[in-house]
Symmetry: C2
Subunit: 355 residues, 2 copies
């Protein structure tokens, strides 16, 4: 079985240049590898942060993209259970040490030796750069490849691999049970999926948003209530109301108005990475409140989420774009001008004359 | 049974005047009341904050003191199970609504209608001011009176009623089990008791302190290790080491160096009330860490703590003072010049010619 090693991609060559056509090498298949022809790739806000070196750890050239759905094209000799043509997905990481406590517990995202990010990182050899899903094809060890359930729309499935698991995992881990009162801060790529998950699990869901324009769409997603966070009286009316808050906002913002809305023993989970903000410990002490963080999810939990989504008819609401619109999509994502996730139709890359 | 209603006390008359002799009224016994002749009262840092109106909610005249141990002098007709001469204790609150979810769950400290603080507060009538333990006698409903176990030193028991339960409760609630790695930030009135509790529960205890002078005493209290927090290399060497950190520092300080010392799924509990400090959500997200707060403990849990202390020979290490030294003790407490808690010998108040 032969596998093409040179594939078309879109890459950032520096922090201050737009993404542009580029070619990269994909490794020859190892026994446990699966080659996936990418059909869809979501545009995550972290793609922008990293393409522009806003986290000060960027490696160039960079091919972003870690919300990947595609078709199995080929696989190594040790791979069983997959057939050419099967739909497969890849998320935020493509490898991990496989031997630390975290990896052994199925928490590969917290690998103690460091997982290999799908892009802007290194393979476990510590040397080979990784390139993401803004490309024709990716080669990934079978242990880090997910199965896309039958009947699930590929475009709508792509954002599940980062935005989806990032919200699903803390909802599961920190325990929202049927009927608890939950709130979602921010109604973007992550937030709109958090609303769907919480509603499907039977929680009473409230969306906390700055935008009055999102009231109707929030309700359509499954929210029972929407609180406009610029309305101080509305915030006060919801003081000590929620058992669980998931904060998906990527831009810097205060913790305080949200913490005040947690009831006794409530927990607020941060899944975004905004700049630091002041935390008043009195807001935690007074009602034994907690703040936690959570980072994506493990491979097993990601597959569990996909099955949950299939059972409940959940996918992301997406706007499909062609690859040549990706720079514009970055700008619109920064302005929150998308409902709720851009997904690149990777067929558009194959049509380009860039190879 | 007659009960004196006028008792000697020490009071602050304003934020900027020292405590001085004063007389207050204690109510006539109601059927469920117990009158306690106070023998010992601990000096808590919050006594200073409130006497000086540093929390901007002070009511004057103020009689501080909520670490109270004494002798039952009298009780109302409905009180059973107590005898004159029994040793009794009173902590941070003297009443609560008794009907909200928190009260019904034995979490009176989180009473949804507001518990009645032992001083600088109001009775449940919302009108009558409360006066604390820097006084000869206190009258408290039996439901809020604790039993001091036989054989326990009264002076060493007094700080258990605030410093003790404030650290015991989160250690129990957030679950430090045998053999976990725990750290105590700050080795003062609260911290030294946290070390004793954690060691008695079988945890591997590390003290995190600015003061190299506390290394030997920390080990004597039960700490297996001491990390001097001004030593950046030592902090780095303990990165991702602890399952549980209890932060007892009352002065403003950063969260970051301590959060970095939490391992995956670790939790840091705030029990002090310093000013706000910046919190970087990345430190939570990266290893699914948590920060929580906790406020004293319920009545049932306080009695449980007292029994735990009796079983393990735990009391506070105290410096006994007479009431006329209380203003100096405030200054020394602010300078952390005490090992580890001042306790007022209330017999000294009875000897004063102030009545």
């Amino acid at each position: 079985m032969t596998v093409a090693t040179t594939v078309r991609a879109y890459a950032a060559q520096a922090a201050d240049t737009p993404l542009a056509p580029f070619t990269i090498e994909r490794r020859e298949l190892r026994p446990d590898d699966i080659a996936i022809d990418i059909t869809h790739c979501g545009v995550c806000h972290s793609d922008i942060h990293q393409a522009r070196n806003e986290w000060h750890d960027s490696l160039y050239p960079m091919v972003p993209g870690h919300e990947i759905v595609g078709i199995v094209a080929a696989f190594g000799d040790a791979v069983t259970g997959w057939q050419p043509g099967d739909r497969a997905g890849v998320g935020v990481f493509v490898d991990s040490c496989r031997s630390c406590d975290a990896c052994l517990a199925g928490l590969e995202q917290y690998c103690e030796r460091g997982m290999s990010p799908t892009y802007n990182g290194r393979e476990q050899d510590g040397v080979t750069p990784t390139y993401g899903g803004y490309s024709e094809r990716i080669v990934v060890d079978r242990r880090y490849v997910l199965r896309v359930p039958d009947g699930m729309d590929s475009a709508g499935a792509a954002p599940l691999f980062c935005a989806g698991i990032t919200t699903y995992s803390p909802i599961r881990h920190f325990g929202v049970s049927n009927g608890e009162r939950a709130a979602v801060v921010g109604l973007g790529g992550l937030g709109h999926l958090a609303v769907k998950f919480l509603a499907a699990m039977g929680a009473e869901v409230t969306v906390l948003s700055r935008s009055p324009g999102k009231i109707d769409t929030a309700r359509a997603l499954g929210a029972g209530d929407v609180v406009i966070t610029t309305d101080a009286a509305a915030l006060e009316a919801h003081r000590r109301r929620f058992d669980f808050i998931i904060d998906t906002i990527a831009a810097a913002h205060p913790y305080e108005p949200y913490l005040r809305m947690l009831r006794r023993d409530g927990i607020m989970v941060q899944v975004g990475l905004p700049d630091p903000a002041p935390l008043n410990p009195m807001l935690l002490v007074n009602w034994r409140r907690r703040i936690a963080g959570s980072q994506i999810g493990g491979i097993g939990e990601t597959q569990e989420m996909l099955e949950f989504c299939a059972a409940h008819g959940i996918t992301a609401d997406v706007e499909l774009i062609s690859i040549d619109a990706v720079n514009e999509a970055f700008e619109r994502t920064i302005r929150s001008d998308v409902r709720y996730r851009f997904v690149i139709d990777m067929a558009s890359l194959r049509r380009e004359d860039t190879a």
